[in-house]
């Protein structure tokens, strides 16, 4: 169980998912010499450069050519490597869908696609760079696993699992530093196809992923302290395969489910959760996310406001949670 109070104090630590990725890759590469990485003129930003500094012959920078990037990663996997393909989220899932589908997922190759700068929180670069369709796209590919870590520690833990599990993975990271959710619980277990209950509750469930997990924890704190509502918060870092048992448990044990994601509400986490409830335990699933439109630029200090405008702030979550509880439908 997590201390809600620590999340609302100045003692909250922030750390950077990308740096965690860069460090983890070096560690994994030290343990396993079969790990290689392909980058696309963004190795500094993705922190894969560190891996290249440690293993100069195992990082391949192919320049600004993402289709080539992911396909080379496929070739490396054919020849027995565990290959990481990394650049910005904006340039892989959409641009390289064909290559990922045919060259990676169809033959079920051991390629781990790790992208950063996903969601609205990219900020100033604007909508062209705010990838809000990737979960939907990647989730629809047979054989693909989709992971969305919520903080630096979970990045490292999930990378270990992804390396141990044969087959294609898509992992999406955020650009800004994020709150350390698991900082005080470094022994937390992460498994593919499993979600973590961070805070238990009996009235409603919030199922979130990525940066929205911290936001949801804040909302749950407000709901408890200001409204006396007991709210369960789930970190659904494994979007595919999804923890359908946990989704059903939430549907059964609480009055409704709220999903929160930095993603279009079409096809993302909310859809994945609804697919489970619709078939297994019909219940109301209120989807918080980008409501089928594009984002816009915002300076770093404006990102919270940007997210709030798109319904992705603690206050917006609280508002929707209250509405959900009042709703008579189940």
């Amino acid at each position: 169980m997590y201390s809600l109070n620590s999340l609302n104090t100045d003692e909250v630590k922030f750390s950077d998912m990308r740096s965690a990725y860069g460090e983890a890759l070096v560690d994994l590469g030290t343990e396993n010499k079969n790990i290689v990485c392909v980058g696309g003129d963004t190795t500094d930003s993705l922190k894969t450069k560190k891996f290249g500094e440690k293993f100069p012959d195992r990082l391949f920078n192919v320049g600004i050519a993402e289709a080539n990037l992911v396909s080379i990663a496929a070739g490396l996997a054919i020849a027995g490597k565990i290959s990481f393909a990394s650049t910005y989220a904006a340039f892989i899932p959409g641009r390289c869908l064909d290559q990922i589908r045919n060259a990676i997922c169809y033959p079920k190759l051991n390629v781990k696609i790790v992208v950063s700068h996903a969601g609205l929180s990219v900020g100033p670069d604007g909508a062209s760079h705010q990838q809000i369709e990737d979960i939907s796209i990647m989730r629809s590919l047979p054989n693909m696993n989709v992971l969305i870590p919520s903080d630096a520690l979970s990045v490292k833990k999930l990378l270990q699992k992804a390396v141990k599990t044969s087959g294609p993975f898509y992992m999406r990271l955020a650009r800004p530093s994020t709150e350390e959710i698991y900082g005080s619980n470094p022994e937390t277990n992460f498994d593919i196809g499993v979600g973590n209950i961070l805070v238990d509750g009996s009235d409603i469930s919030i199922i979130a992923c990525g940066t929205m997990v911290a936001t949801s924890l804040k909302a749950s704190n407000i709901l408890k302290t200001e409204y006396g509502i007991s709210c369960r918060v789930v970190d659904m870092y494994s979007i595919k395969p999804i923890d359908s048992d946990l989704v059903c448990k939430c549907a059964k044990e609480t009055r409704g489910i709220l999903t929160v994601e930095e993603h279009n509400i079409i096809g993302g986490l909310g859809s994945a959760v609804s697919e489970v409830t619709a078939e297994m335990y019909p219940t109301i699933v209120k989807k918080l996310g980008v409501r089928d439109k594009f984002g816009e630029s915002a300076r770093d200090e404006e990102i919270d406001t940007l997210l709030d405008n798109y319904g992705l702030s603690p206050r917006e979550i609280v508002k929707n949670a209250l509405a959900l509880i009042k709703s008579e439908k189940r």
């Binding site: 396909s71 080379i72 070739g75 054919i78 290959s83």
Partner: protein, 541 residues
Amino acid sequence: MYSINRYLRLKEKIKEIRKIALTGIAEAGSGHPGASFSAAEIMGSLYFQIMNIDLKNYSLANRDYFINSKAHSAPGYYATLALSGSFPKDEIKTLRKLHSRLQGHPVRYSEHQKNHSVPGIEYSGGSEGIGLSVSIGISLANRLDGYDNMVYCLLGDGETNEGQVWEASMAASKFRLNNLIAILDRNKIQQDGFTEDIMPIDPVKEKWSSFNWDVVEVDGHRIEQLITELLRKPKDKPKIIIANTVKGNGIKHMANNPQWHGKAPSKKHMPILLEELEGEYMISPSIIAGPTGIDEKSLIEKIETAEKYRSEMIHLDVMDGIFVPNTTFSHKTIKNIRSVTNVPFDTHLMIQSPADELDDFIDAGCDILTIHSEVCKSEKDFETMNTKLISNGVSPGLAINPNTEFPQWAIPFLDQLDVIIIMSVNPGFAGQKFIPEVSSKMTKLIPLLRKSGFTGYFEADGGIDLSTILNAYNAGCRIFVMGNAIFGSDDIQSRLKETRLKIDTNLEQQLLQKSQSLDIKDDWVKGRKTVLERFQLGVLP
């Protein structure tokens, strides 16, 4: 060094690729004959000669890799794999059907796809433009692991419209991948029409050169050219072989015809089409003939002429003055002239003691060495020579003179022989007349030897010219030695053209007759219209 392992057997196997592929496409009712046929020599050369692979042990770490980026050539690819031992060739009849291992486009073979693939397939293709990038990944991994294996990537020319190909092209030269050879099947046709109309890719050589690749150009249906370049590994950069091919090559109404990019022939037409594929022949000009003599300079001139006009082989008549009354040249001459061409040397040993000199003739670079049955002292004697030829990658041949019966002792060797020469003159001199009785000898002997299990070539040698060639062709000969008929002519190019026209017209008539006997003539004539017109057979109803 230039070397083909058993040239004639390779030719036979590549013919088989086309037959199996077409059978599969006709059974499936869909598929791509054009691409399968343009790439048949490329895939055959790779799988049957060049690549270090073991389809029983298909995942060996240091194996050579073949990435078929133009995956719509699947039927030809499957046929090649079947002939390499991947799966039984009869399974081609399941192509593109439900529950088949032979999917419309090939699927990488692995535990999770073993019901939809066959051993040896490395890459799931179908979406164009990806395979070269994948090949780069494999090459990088191989280099990292310190292997000296090669990656061969087959690209379609239409496929290079895809921008990703050029991303890959840049990357391969950046990484100086000298363990990567791409082969561009330059058949000049894509689905909507000719490449230069749809999206021009010329000047193709200059494009790849400017991307810093080692670029060579070959005739993609000449295996000796392909093999020479596939064996020549690049030094410090990737290499691309621009293989000029004819889409649909092998079936005349499909050849160079955009309509046959992705269309299946009717099953009813298959017996005719297989007969057409069986009709393939080779001309082997004998360079001792003609007025210019047999000094090395003249021989070289004649070789160059023969090569220029696309002769399939060069026939070398070696005479020792003992077995035959005349003397021509020795293995030394052959060794001296070998470097002039990579067109296969079809060497006919008219010598009394071939066993004594066999090593020298092998060393001289002969692709085919034919020994006279008359000089074989015993079955054992022949066996020793035959084994030596095979173990040195030379196609073994056996020749019989006009008055010699095919020796009984040779019957057990039929499955090891690649060619049988049925002499139609008594050897010893150029310029003799075809002995008419040999026609009936051929007509009797050839089916008999086929029945006994001989699958190689019959070669006609002696007095073959425009007036006699069809006798030999219709009896079943598919290699024609022509001496004075070619080099005695004032216009060698026209003479060769006339010769080919004669054989082609004859075959066309036979196919037409076959369609009549199968009661599908109208249908056949409809699909074959332009070809029939070309041979002036279009007037038939």
